[in-house]
Amino acid sequence: MSDTTHEEHHDGPHASGMWRWLTTTNHKDIGTLYLVFSLIMFLIGGTMALIIRTELFQPGLQLVDPHFFNQMTTMHALVMIFGALMPAFVGLANWQIPLMVGAPDMALPRMNNWSFWILPPAFLLLLSTLFMPGGAPAGGWTLYPPLILQTGDAFPFVVFSLHMLGASSILGAINIIVTITNMRAPGMSFMKMPLFVWTWLITAYLLIGAMPVLAGAITMLLTDRYFDTSFFLAAGGGDPVMFQHIFWFFGHPEVYILILPAFGIISQVIPTFARKPLFGYTSMVIATSAIAFLSYVVWAHHMFTVGMPQAGLLFFMISTMFIAVPTGVKIFNWLATLWRGSISFETPMLFAIAFVVLFTIGGFSGLMLALVPADIEYHDTYFVVAHFHYVLVPGAIFGVIAGVYYWLPKWTGHMYNETLGKWHFWLSTIFVNVLFFPQHFLGLASMPRRIPDYAVQFTEFNMISTIGAFGFGLSQLLFVWMLIKCVKGGEKATEKVWDEPQGLEWTVPSPAPYHTFETAPKV
């Protein structure tokens, strides 16, 4: 009768070592786990990218077999999207959302623990397919049938691991939605929430809508191969192109799942270092929602060459072009936030500025890709590779890095080494352009993507790109070093860390104690 405790909200790190991390339900622990996992996956996926770039340094096959090359391009994408970027954003959400809305923890701490711990076995399984007979999937991350059905013994394991990743994402998304809708401190209405919280709420909504579609699509691939169905098999009356429709119906929202939280981070960082409130908060929220909505009606722009009715081509072209409007609103709002501010250039701000510039370049090439007649020429060339890498690397990944530098002092209680941070920034920004900018030219000069070897006229830009790849990859080791140094020690961080940051997270001590805000602070 006497000592029964209300256990749900109560699992701090009682245990030590491995057991603590396995059983923790604390949002900060789980956020850390997600971020560390994401960093490891970033390095693994990056190594795969370097194998690809090494093979492409010059024409002729020097390093790998074409089949292994295809495995590398496929696995690089799967690892980076599902292993590096998504867990990074979920990790940031875990750390920051409870702090930002004034909640003691995530709404469902135990589910939070599960959604992380599904990830490592899923990736062990996915990476182990590299050693199975027939190798890892080699049909591209888009898994188009019939090619993907030619995968060797690894096929069912790939599907199963993708199911696990999807389940993890859904659990994470549900937790985030419930936390944001239920656990906001009194006085924090929806329109007072920080933009990072807003963008994550919309992202979670997209995840809930898109993930079952992926799960269904890959299950139908599985039944096509093993249970004699013909969803996508021409021989049995199915249509392989329908898989592409279904896949991109998931895939395009997924693309925005990867960028919206980065928009949120940039919208936190820029006002802090411009010492000025975010310009156009309401229009930012509306623009984010509009982008999310449009993401469900543009999917077929990934497949303009498959043979579609003219009306379809026109519809998807115009809907795609209109995404430029809300995206433009965001960029103009960031510019207006900087306008007449009092700007300083700490590392998070540098990454945020590079984000605005380089993401905009990715947006421009995206607009060009929307134009069907031109897209037919750009499609499946390095122009597309350059486009989505501009959006995902100096876009999404720079967003994550900006967020990490911005909140790291809050997490560890130490300031990071600003000199190291600046070096990391400049090297990353220079090399990411050396890496990806020449790929625009390669694409325009008609080099197809996903080829292990190329005609001789593409040599020069490929060499430059490979040099950039190694420069960029090695610069990230500086980031790892900076992180280790900052966790171990360094100048003590103050509660506010920066001059005039906005938001509740800056009112708790640094490092933030466990179970902040067990009841509501006043907003």
């Binding site: 074409p66 081509l313 900087l338 499946d380 005609a455």
Partner: protein, 295 residues
């Protein structure tokens, strides 16, 4: 600052594009722009690309210019004091409406080209193109000609890992038997595939269309000048995806007729597809075990 650098790159790209457009067919190395078009429609597509590029460069100059100005002018280290404003309905409406107008202006000419592109009526010549792992088959439906087109032996030998052979000028972009078409004639392609999805692409024709099993896709081109035009498969199709070139020989009408006569007049039997397929399989025999069909 990085913004001015990025701006510089865009200027460079824009200037390079304009210079190249004026220079006509330039050397392939260091090419910065779309190849010169061999078709009238291709010229229109190329024009659209340049229009979109110029719009983007102008927008880039405005956006990055404003950004660069802010970063220089409103620095805290220069004693800038932060203003307090946080919204302006007027400004927000302006930068919503202006992009909409630009987009509409871009969409209209694009839609025109698109409609022209999709018009496969009134073709002079029909060729059925079938993708195989990893070669093409061309069937001239009006002439009863049919043959496979494989990568040339020199490229094939040089592409083996560690072969160390010298790479010739058209490495990976040469075939044993090219597609042959007459100049100035509307050629309609009917594309399909025997196994996985491929895509038939000749950059200078500005034609790219997927070859999907179980489906016939149609597209067309009308080459303006005789010559050899090179492309390759553009949809990942397995181990040999990078080794599936396309060459189209555009001949004068009388030369084309002679080519047709040479193939049809003597009772030279059409090569058996099976035999060809076997040859192709042995060519790809170095494929890793998993590359083989699992079905």
């Amino acid at each position: 600052m990085n913004c001015s650098k990025a701006q510089g790159r865009w200027l460079f790209l824009g200037i390079a594009a304009v210079a190249l457009a004026m220079a006509g067919p330039a050397a392939a190395d260091w090419a910065l722009d779309f190849p010169a078009s061999a078709t009238e429609l291709g010229n229109k597509v190329r024009g659209l690309h340049h229009m979109a590029l110029i719009i983007c460069v102008v927008m880039g100059i405005i956006v990055f210019g404003a950004l660069g100005y802010s970063l220089v002018k409103f620095r805290k280290s220069q004693g800038a004091q932060a203003a307090k404003f946080s919204h302006s309905t007027k400004a927000e409406i302006i930068w919503t409406v202006i992009p909409v107008l630009i987009l509409v202006g871009l969409a209209i000419p694009t839609a025109r080209v698109l409609i022209e592109m999709e018009d496969t009526q009134a073709a002079d010549l029909r060729i059925k193109v079938t993708g195989y792992q990893w070669k093409w088959r061309y069937e001239y439906l009006d002439h009863g000609i049919s043959f496979f087109s494989n990568i040339d032996d020199a490229s094939n030998a040089a592409s083996i890992r560690g072969a160390g052979l010298e790479l010739h000028e058209h490495y990976l972009r040469d075939v044993d038997k090219p597609m042959v078409v007459p100049v100035g004639k509307k050629v309609k392609l009917q594309l399909t595939s025997n196994d996985v999805i491929h895509a038939w692409w000749v950059p200078e024709f500005y034609v790219k269309r997927d070859a999907v099993p179980g489906t016939i896709n149609e597209t067309w081109f009308k080459a303006e000048k005789p010559g050899s035009y090179r492309g390759q498969c553009a949809e990942l199709c397995g181990r040999g995806h990078g080794f599936m070139p396309i060459v189209v020989e555009v001949l004068a009408q009388d030369e084309f007729d002679a080519w047709v006569a040479g193939l049809t007049a003597p009772a030279e039997p059409e090569p058996e597809p099976e035999a060809e397929a076997e040859a192709a399989i042995s060519q790809a025999s170095t494929a890793a075990a998993g590359g083989a069909s699992a079905r």
